[in-house]
């Protein structure tokens, strides 16, 4: 999903809904990808009181992550639940 538009930023629930995986699988996966430099994240700049919602943490692929992810086999690339997460 991140690979579809590497420059786009996605937040946790959006990723979970799009890939069909639970939060419990998603966060260790994101932490691993972030640790190896495939994904970077940032807090949303937001006035929570004005917007009426909590700020989100956004994730996006790094250039290295996008490059490496494109080299993954297609079946692994489209698999929602990566076993090693």
């Amino acid at each position: 999903m991140l690979l579809a538009d590497p420059s786009a930023e996605r937040y946790g629930l959006e990723l979970a809904q799009a890939t069909g995986i639970l939060g419990g699988t998603l966060y260790p996966l994101l932490a691993r990808l972030e640790a190896i430099g495939w994904v970077e994240s940032r807090w949303e700049q937001l006035d929570e009181h004005a917007e009426g919602r909590r700020r989100r943490r956004y994730y996006r692929l790094t250039a290295a992550g996008a490059r490496c992810a494109r080299r993954l086999p297609v079946d692994l690339n489209s698999s929602p639940g990566l076993g090693w997460a």
Binding site: G12, A16, G23, G24, T25, P28, R32, W43, R53, R57
Partner: protein, 228 residues
């Protein structure tokens, strides 16, 4: 015993059970968002202190956006509390094995070196009544090395800032002790040891320093306040 539990066989009990179960499911269903928030908030305690606030805030946002009622927030919360939190607790505390092995070898190497130095100093080169402060210095040096190793091993359970502070104190003390002992070893250790001894004594702390710098950078990065 049979008469005490005879109410279990009463038809009214089945009805009560069904009503009770429905009430509980209904209550959970209506409050699943709040239950989910409590679950992920409690689960964040498992994480290292440096990452706790960030993950708690992120997970709370996740559960709030997942909804206030119904199964969805609760299912996500149970998966986060039951799987993500313990998994991340291990993942975030784990350090590269190679670095740990090198570090243990480095500190462990100090023990035989200084035990040998002690025998050389006390048994061969030194007169029977050598300087009385050499032995305490060597013991202190080895103990500091072991202390550093203990801090290094336990650092996963400490906040990065605290670890770096303690590590810096131990390193400075050990370096001072090293540079006090260098001229002593150089002056008193004969033969090849006159060159190798001081070289080792200087090389080990330098190598440690390089390793400690490598370790401190990710710790500092992890210690940054993610909310800023």
């Amino acid at each position: 015993m049979g008469h005490i539990f005879s109410f279990l066989a009463h038809p009214a009990y089945d009805l009560l059970l069904a009503i009770g179960a429905a009430c509980i499911v209904n209550a959970i269903d209506r409050r699943s968002g709040a239950i989910g928030r409590a679950l992920v908030s409690a689960a964040a305690v498992l994480l290292p202190r440096s990452q706790r606030a960030r993950c708690r805030e992120e997970w709370l946002t996740f559960i709030i956006e997942a909804g206030e009622s119904g199964a969805r927030p609760l299912v996500h919360a149970v998966s986060i509390a039951g799987w993500a939190a313990p998994r991340l607790a291990l993942l975030l505390r784990r350090r590269p094995v190679t670095e740990r092995v090198l570090y243990v070898a480095l500190v462990a190497a100090q023990v035989p070196i200084f035990v040998a130095a002690r025998f050389v100093l006390a048994g061969r080169t030194l007169p029977p009544r050598g300087p009385s402060f050499i032995e305490p210095i060597l013991i202190l040096y080895v103990l500091l090395g072991l202390l550093m190793l203990a801090f290094s091993t336990l650092s996963g359970r400490q906040s990065p800032a605290r670890f770096v502070r303690w590590y810096a104190v131990v390193r400075m003390t050990q370096t001072v002790v090293t540079f006090v002992s260098v001229p002593l070893v150089a002056a008193l250790w004969g033969g090849v040891g006159r060159i190798l001894g001081p070289a080792l004594v200087v090389a080990l702390p330098v190598a440690e320093f390089v390793l400690s710098k490598r370790r401190r950078e990710p710790l500092r990065a992890a210690g940054q306040n993610p909310t800023q």
